[in-house]
């Protein structure tokens, strides 16, 4: 499995969100989309999920244009997880996660089969939500909800896994647990996994490839080692950073505050 985004341009009401973006993503690797707010990360994920159509260019899965796939084929192939989940009507966690199995059920199949329940069982173990299954979604904490959203994305057993900010709202332990689970799934199932992330440290730990976006364009592309240089990061984010290598492989990128009101400033001043 291989995803190729080829010269894609997309704009919201004449504001360009993506401008001639070309990215090639291999399976069995975690690819991360990084970039400041409004860089086009979510838009790129939605384009690959075929939720929005490119104005120019095309997205190919295994060399075949997305347009040539039926919605049902895509529904079985691709999972996209959005951290913003409407939950105004009360649904239980198990009901939500089970919806991910709908694309695999027949048109006249009213209830789930045992097979679907088994998948949900496995997934809830992987994402540590087994104890939440009979709770209502509106009674979860934001961290629990985040794990449930990741669980629903994995419950489809997708070949292409697209995650938007999976680490938002999670505490440090669950950040590692969730990204571990995602990485394990990627390696075991040889999926194409694309994650939009904000945390540079997590990116350097978990991403095999990093795509750095800024203002709808690909600024830098490669392994975290290649992309994370203070010069590139400073240019894109407009923030001073200090990049520190640990054990030769992992990089810690420390953003340094420039404004007033931080403790560092106060300490240096006193």
């Amino acid at each position: 499995m291989r995803v190729r985004v080829d010269g894609v341009t997309f704009s919201y009401n004449s504001v360009k969100a993506l401008d001639d973006v070309t990215v090639e993503v291999e399976c069995g690797k975690v690819t991360c989309l990084l970039g400041p707010n409004g860089a086009g990360k979510t838009t790129l994920l939605k384009l690959i999920a075929s939720y929005i159509k490119p104005e120019r260019g095309a997205v190919y899965i295994d060399g075949k244009d997305l347009k040539m796939y039926s919605p049902r084929e895509l529904a079985r192939l691709i999972s996209i997880a959005d951290p913003h989940l409407p939950r105004t009507l009360p649904m239980r966690v198990v009901d939500f996660v089970l919806t991910a199995r709908y694309p695999f059920q027949g048109a006249f199949q009213y209830f789930e089969r045992d097979n679907d329940l088994k998948v949900v069982e496995e997934v809830s173990k992987e994402t540590l939500i087994s104890h939440l299954l009979d709770r209502r979604l509106d009674q979860l904490s934001s961290g629990e909800l985040q794990r449930v959203i990741i669980a629903a994305a994995l419950a489809k057993r997708p070949r292409i896994l697209l995650l938007d900010e999976p680490s938002a709202f999670l505490d440090i332990r669950y950040r590692f647990d969730m990204l571990d689970a995602i990485k394990r799934y990627t390696l075991a199932q040889r999926t194409v996994t694309i994650i939009a992330l904000h945390d540079l440290y997590l990116a350097s730990l978990y991403c095999d490839t990093v795509v750095l976006l800024s203002k709808g364009k690909v600024v830098s592309y490669g392994s975290p080692r290649e992309v994370f240089t203070s010069q590139i990061i400073e240019e894109v984010y407009g923030v001073r950073v200090k990049v520190v290598p640990v054990d030769g492989e992992i990089l810690l990128a420390f953003p340094l505050p420039s404004g007033e009101g931080t403790t560092i400033q106060e300490q240096t001043a006193s």
Partner: protein, 347 residues
Amino acid sequence: MSQEVISGSRRKFLFLALLLTVALAVSLLFSLSVGTSLVSPKEVLTCLIAFECGKSAKLVVDMRFVRACVAALSGAMLALAGTLVQGLTRNPLADPYIIGVSSTSLAVVSAAVLLSPSVLVHRQVLIAVAFAGALLGYILTTTISLLSGGSGTSLVLSGIAVSALFSGISHVLLYLSQNRIAQLGRNYVFLLLGSTSGVLRQDITYLAISLATSLAIIFVLGIPKALNAYLFGELYASQLGYRVRALTATTALVSSVLTGATVAVVGVVGFIGLAGPHIARISAGTSDHRATVVLSALTGSILTVLADALTRAISAISSWGELPLGVVTGIIGAPFLAYLVVKGGRG
């Protein structure tokens, strides 16, 4: 874990469906025996099953049978429409009334009555007119809501605006045509607040056809599952392979058919479209539409049959004549809903 949770809620759903079906049968029986002349439930049963009954009892039961069936069908339809509309707007406060569908439907019916009062007797025409009105209401409300940003709140607000405007219009139109309606032996208040007193035998057929068609569409197209997915956002539903535009359009159409048909036959009966879905959701413990679609229809049906029986019971023991159905559904439904809300909120 997931296995136990799901099989538990499956059992609960089947149990509730069975319980409510029995309760509906009992309510129907009760409804047939209550009125100005009391017929014992036993006599009603022999009348219905063995076709052996006294001439007077037969007359009474026959007449009430039509009313009870119409009440049962329209209650089911309103509650079903409510469930669909709440799913569509992802808003537990929505009902066919709040999003303006019933009042536009009534306004168009009133206009038709003013132009030609005989439309009240030509039921096919009346249902078609009411349905067109309901659809118009839905289009109007969603358009205004989209213009103001398309959020759930804006939908309810624009629905309130549309429904206030059109219930005003229908009040005026019905007031103007009250003499003509009275000539046909009807009271115009009954159209405003709902009543089964003017129903005809063929209404059962029209309502049954509308309900059956709607249910067929709902189940054949798999709308319950699609709405489950749609609750979690348009992106979520579309990544599960659902065509969101087609889904929302079909669901709106079906709820307009359901609402329009009931408005044409019994007028505007409030509260059922809100209480039915809520009672179903709270008793099932989830908004899974596969369960709530069935349970809300049964609940709405029971509530309406009981309310209708109550209007007749009150007219039998008082000198007020018959109360409008819409008033009574509120009186018996609201305390029950309040009880469930309090209980559900704690649990």
